[in-house]
C-alpha cells in the first residue's frame, strides 16, 4: 500500500470545515477528498466517519452508489471509452475490447502496476463524433480499433503491433 500523500485526519477536518460539517454536503465532501487522493482510501472514509460520527456504512452507501467515487487507486494514465448508445452502434465495444487486450486489464479496472485505468462512460455528450475515447482528458473522435492501436503505438503504450 503506497503512503498517502496527505494525513487523512488533517485532510478530512479541513474539508469538513469547508462545508461546516453539514451531512447534506457529503457528496461534495467526498468529491473534494477524492480530488486530493485521486480515489477514496479506506483510511479516509474511516476518518470521515470518525469525525462526523456518521456510521461508516452510510458513507460507504454513498461512496459505492455514485460512479464519481473510486475506492481503489487509479492508474497514471486514464483511458475512458464512451459506451453510450451513439458510440456503441458505431462499434465502440470493439475499441474497448482491443484496449482491454492491449493493456491487460478488464474494463473499469486498473493495471497491477498502477499505470493504466481503463474506464467506460455512458456518453460524454459529443455523440456526433462517436466513438469517443478520452485519454487523460484529451478527446479522440471517430475511434476504431485500427486508429486506437496507432494512437497506443504513438504514445509508446505498445512497442509493436503484433
Amino acid at each position: 500500500m503506497p503512503q498517502l500523500p496527505v494525513e487523512p485526519a488533517k485532510a478530512v477536518s479541513e474539508i469538513l470545515s469547508r462545508y461546516h460539517g453539514d451531512p447534506a454536503r457529503m457528496i461534495e465532501i467526498l468529491q473534494d477528498l477524492q480530488e486530493i487522493y485521486r480515489y477514496l482510501p479506506k483510511e479516509v472514509i474511516e476518518e470521515v466517519s470518525h469525525q462526523t460520527e456518521i456510521p461508516i456504512n452510510r458513507i460507504y452507501h454513498i461512496a459505492t452508489f455514485y460512479k464519481a467515487f473510486h475506492l481503489e487507486p487509479r492508474g497514471e494514465t486514464i483511458i475512458t471509452v464512451c459506451t453510450g448508445t451513439a458510440c456503441h452502434v458505431r462499434g465502440s465495444f470493439r475499441t474497448l475490447d482491443l484496449l482491454s487486450e492491449r493493456l491487460g486489464v478488464k474494463p473499469n479496472e486498473t493495471s497491477g502496476d498502477l499505470k493504466y485505468t481503463l474506464e467506460t462512460v455512458g456518453c460524454v455528450g459529443a455523440c456526433a463524433l462517436g466513438p469517443i475515447v478520452i485519454i487523460n482528458g484529451k478527446y479522440y473522435g471517430h475511434m476504431t480499433p485500427d486508429r486506437m492501436d496507432r494512437v497506443l503505438k504513438r504514445m509508446g503504450i505498445i512497442e509493436k503491433y503484433s
Binding site: Y66, A68, G84, H88, R90, L98
Partner: protein
C-alpha cells in the same frame, strides 16, 4: 456591483448594449462547446484571433462590439469545426487553423466567399454559401437554439444585448404570478425531460401551496446516453435557462433554486456557474430583483454519476446528500419535494422555453406543434446518419423529415434499418413507421417514447438483439437495486439476451424474455424499471426474425455479435501484402508475402483491424 436595481436600469442597459453591438455588424463566430472543441475548434479560434490582430483590428472587441465570438454549437456537428461570418451567415465547414488568414483577409475584410470551405449539396454537388439555405438548417425551426452562434455564452452583456432578460422584466413588472402560471398553462408546454407532464399544471399546484420556503430545480442530469441537447443549451445559452428559472420561481413563489448538472459535463458546469454568478452580480438574482421585492437565488448541485439520479425523487435525495434512490410518489413534489418543501422540477429545455413563451405569448407559441403538444423539440440526431448533430423542429414533424430531409439519410451506402428514440426508456422503430409525426403520444403508442430527444439512427450493420442487450446491460448496472423486479428481473433478462447473442439460447428463452419484460414493467417502483423492458419489447415486436436467426441458426445477420461471426480472407482478392498480418494484435493471421493470408478463428479476438486496414476489400465477416 449590482448594476441593475430597477426596471429602467435593465431597459437602459439593453438599449446601450444593443446599439453598441450594432456598431460591429460583421463578425466571425466559432463554436467552442465540448463537441466542437474535440474536433479542434479551439485552435481555429486562436488562429482567427491572431490573424485579426495582425490585420490591425482588435479581436477581443470592446464589450459587446466584437469581431470574433466563441459561441455555443450550431448543431451541425458532423461538419465541425464550423465558422460562420455574420450578418450574411456565410457557413464554413471543417475549418483548419491554416484557413484563418484567408477567412480574415478574404471574407471578413473583402466580402469574398472561399468556395473550398463551403458545404456542398450532396445531390448536385453545388456549394451552398449561406447557412439558411443548407438543407440541414432549412427544415428546422430554431427557437431554443436561436442564440447559438450569435452570442458568447459566458457574457451576460451579450445575452442582454440581444434582448435577454426582457421576458423576466415583463414577468416581474407587468404580470402577476397567477397570470404567468396561466400563460404557461395556456401554452400547453409539456416537460422535455421525458415524461411530457404539462408544465403549467405542475406550476399551478406548487403555486397554491402555503409554505415558508419553496424550491425550483433544473434537471441537467441528462442521463440518456446519446442525447446532449441539455449540455448544449447550458453551454451555449445558459442565461436562457437561468431566466426561465427566475420567472418560474416568481410564478410559484420559490426563493431558492438548484441546477443539478451531470458529472460528465465539465464545460456545462462551468458555464452554468458563470451565468449564475454574473446574474447575481448584475442584480438579476438575489434580493429584491428589479426592485420588485421578489428575492431568489440559484445554487449548483454536482451530479455524482448515476442514471437513476435523473428521476425526480432520486434527484432530490441526491441534492440532500443521500444516495439517489427513488421513492414512491404518493405525495407530489409540488407538495413535498426537496427537504419536504413544495418543489418544481423541470428539465433544462423546459426552462429554456419559458422566456420564449413569456416574450411572445402563449397564443403565438400555440401555433407551433400539434394539438396536444406545442412548441419545438431538440433532437440529437446521431449514429449511422449522414448529417449528425442537434436539430430543433416543431413537435409533430415526421421521423422521415428529421432523418432524411435534415439528416440526409444514412451516412454510408448501407440501408436504413431502425431509429431508436427515448433512450433506455424508449424503443426502436422500423422503416414502416417513419411517416409518423413525432409527439409524446404517438411514439408511446408505437412502443417507444419521445423521451428527452435522443434519436439514434441504425443501419443494416446494427444488430437489434445487441442493441436490446446493450440497453438492458446499461440499465441493470444503473438500477438502484431497491426493488426486486427491477434488480433481479433485469439481471435475468440480461442473462437471456447474452445467451442469445452467443447463440446459446432456445426458443423458449424468447417467451421467457417477453414474460419477464412484463413483470419488470408492471412491478417496478420507478420509471427506470417501468420502462426498462421497452428496448426489448420493441425489438421483439419489429425485429423478431433477427432474434430467431440468433437462436435457431446461430447467425447474427448484421455481423455484430462476436461469438457468432468469423473474419475471413477472400482468397481471390488477397494479394498477400502483409498489411493485416503485421497489424493483427494477437498474431492470428498467417501467410508469407505474396501468399494468400489466412485467419485463425481461435486466436482472433474480432477487433476487425484486418478489415479496416485491407486496401483490397479482401476481408469479410462470415
Amino acid at each position: 456591483m449590482r448594476s441593475i436595481r430597477k426596471k429602467e436600469d435593465l431597459l437602459n442597459l439593453y438599449e446601450n448594449l444593443r446599439k453598441e453591438r450594432e456598431k460591429q455588424g460583421k463578425f466571425i463566430s466559432v463554436c467552442v462547446d465540448t463537441g466542437c472543441l474535440a474536433t479542434g475548434s479551439g485552435a481555429v479560434f486562436s488562429a482567427l484571433k491572431e490573424e485579426i490582430a495582425k490585420a490591425g483590428l482588435n479581436p477581443e472587441g470592446e464589450g459587446v462590439k466584437k469581431i470574433l465570438r466563441g459561441t455555443g454549437s450550431l448543431g451541425f456537428d458532423s461538419e465541425n469545426p464550423v465558422v460562420v461570418i455574420y450578418p450574411e451567415k456565410i457557413f464554413y465547414r471543417k475549418v483548419r487553423p491554416g484557413d484563418a488568414k484567408y477567412i480574415v483577409h478574404k471574407t471578413l475584410l473583402n466580402g469574398e466567399i472561399i468556395e473550398r470551405l463551403l458545404y456542398k449539396d450532396p445531390e448536385t454537388n453545388e456549394p451552398i454559401p449561406y447557412l439558411d439555405d443548407i438543407p440541414f438548417y432549412k427544415h428546422q425551426k430554431r427557437l431554443l437554439l436561436a442564440n447559438h452562434g450569435i452570442i458568447d455564452p459566458l457574457s451576460i452583456e451579450e445575452y442582454i444585448s440581444i434582448g435577454g432578460y426582457q421576458a423576466l422584466l415583463k414577468a416581474l413588472t407587468e404580470m402577476e404570478p397567477p397570470q404567468i402560471v396561466e400563460e404557461v398553462k395556456k401554452s400547453k408546454l409539456r416537460g422535455r425531460g421525458g415524461a411530457g407532464f404539462p408544465t403549467g399544471i405542475k406550476w399551478e399546484d406548487a403555486a397554491k401551496r402555503d409554505s415558508d420556503i419553496k424550491y425550483v430545480i433544473c434537471n441537467a442530469d441528462e442521463g440518456d446516453p446519446g442525447a446532449y441537447m441539455d449540455r448544449s443549451l447550458l453551454e451555449g445559452d445558459p442565461h436562457s435557462v437561468v431566466e426561465g428559472m427566475i420567472i418560474g420561481a416568481y410564478a410559484v413563489g420559490a426563493s431558492h433554486g438548484y441546477i443539478y448538472v451531470r458529472r460528465e459535463y465539465p464545460k456545462a458546469l462551468e458555464s452554468a456557474t458563470k451565468a449564475i454568478e454574473d446574474a447575481r452580480e448584475a442584480g438579476l438574482l438575489g434580493d429584491n430583483i428589479l426592485g420588485t421585492g421578489f428575492s431568489f437565488d440559484i445554487e449548483i448541485a454536482r451530479g455524482g454519476g448515476a442514471f437513476v439520479a435523473g428521476e425526480s425523487t432520486a434527484l432530490m435525495a441526491s441534492i440532500e446528500g443521500k444516495p439517489a434512490e427513488p421513492h414512491t410518489k404518493y405525495i407530489h413534489a409540488t407538495q413535498a419535494g426537496l427537504y419536504s418543501k413544495p418543489t418544481v422540477l423541470n428539465n433544462v429545455e423546459t426552462w429554456a422555453n419559458v422566456p420564449i413563451i413569456i416574450n411572445k405569448g402563449a397564443d403565438w407559441y400555440g401555433n407551433i406543434g400539434t394539438e396536444k403538444s406545442k412548441g419545438t423539440k431538440i433532437f440529437s440526431l446521431v449514429g449511422a446518419v449522414k448529417n449528425s448533430g442537434l436539430v430543433e423542429v416543431p413537435i409533430g414533424t415526421t421521423l422521415r423529415e428529421v432523418i432524411f430531409d435534415i439528416g440526409g439519410g444514412i451516412a454510408s451506402e448501407k440501408k436504413f434499418k431502425a431509429v431508436q428514440t427515448g433512450g433506455p426508456s424508449g424503443g426502436v422503430l422500423p422503416e414502416s413507421l417513419l411517416d409518423m409525426p413525432i409527439d409524446f403520444d404517438t411514439l408511446t403508442k408505437a412502443g417507444s417514447m419521445m423521451g428527452s430527444g435522443g434519436m439514434i439512427i441504425m443501419d443494416e450493420h446494427t444488430c437489434m438483439v445487441d442493441v436490446a442487450r446493450y440497453y438492458i446491460d446499461f440499465l441493470s448496472k444503473e438500477s438502484c437495486g431497491k426493488c426486486t423486479p427491477c434488480r433481479e428481473g433485469l439481471r435475468q433478462m440480461l442473462d437471456i439476451l447474452t445467451r442469445i447473442t452467443q447463440g446459446e439460447a432456445t426458443m423458449d428463452d424468447l417467451d421467457l424474455l417477453e414474460e419477464l419484460s412484463y413483470v419488470v414493467k408492471d412491478a417496478s417502483l420507478c420509471g427506470l424499471g417501468q420502462t426498462a423492458p421497452n428496448p426489448v419489447l420493441s425489438t421483439l415486436k419489429y425485429f423478431r426474425d433477427e432474434y430467431v436467426a440468433h437462436v435457431r441458426d446461430k447467425h447474427c445477420p448484421a455481423g455484430v455479435c462476436a461469438a457468432l461471426i468469423e473474419y475471413e480472407i477472400i482468397p481471390e482478392k488477397c494479394t498477400g501484402c502483409l498489411a493485416c498480418k503485421v497489424r493483427c494484435p494477437v498474431g492470428a493471421i498467417e501467410g508469407e508475402k505474396g501468399e494468400v493470408h489466412k485467419i485463425d478463428p481461435d486466436k482472433c479476438i474480432r477487433c476487425g483491424i484486418c478489415m479496416e486496414v485491407c486496401t483490397f476489400d479482401a476481408v469479410r465477416i462470415k
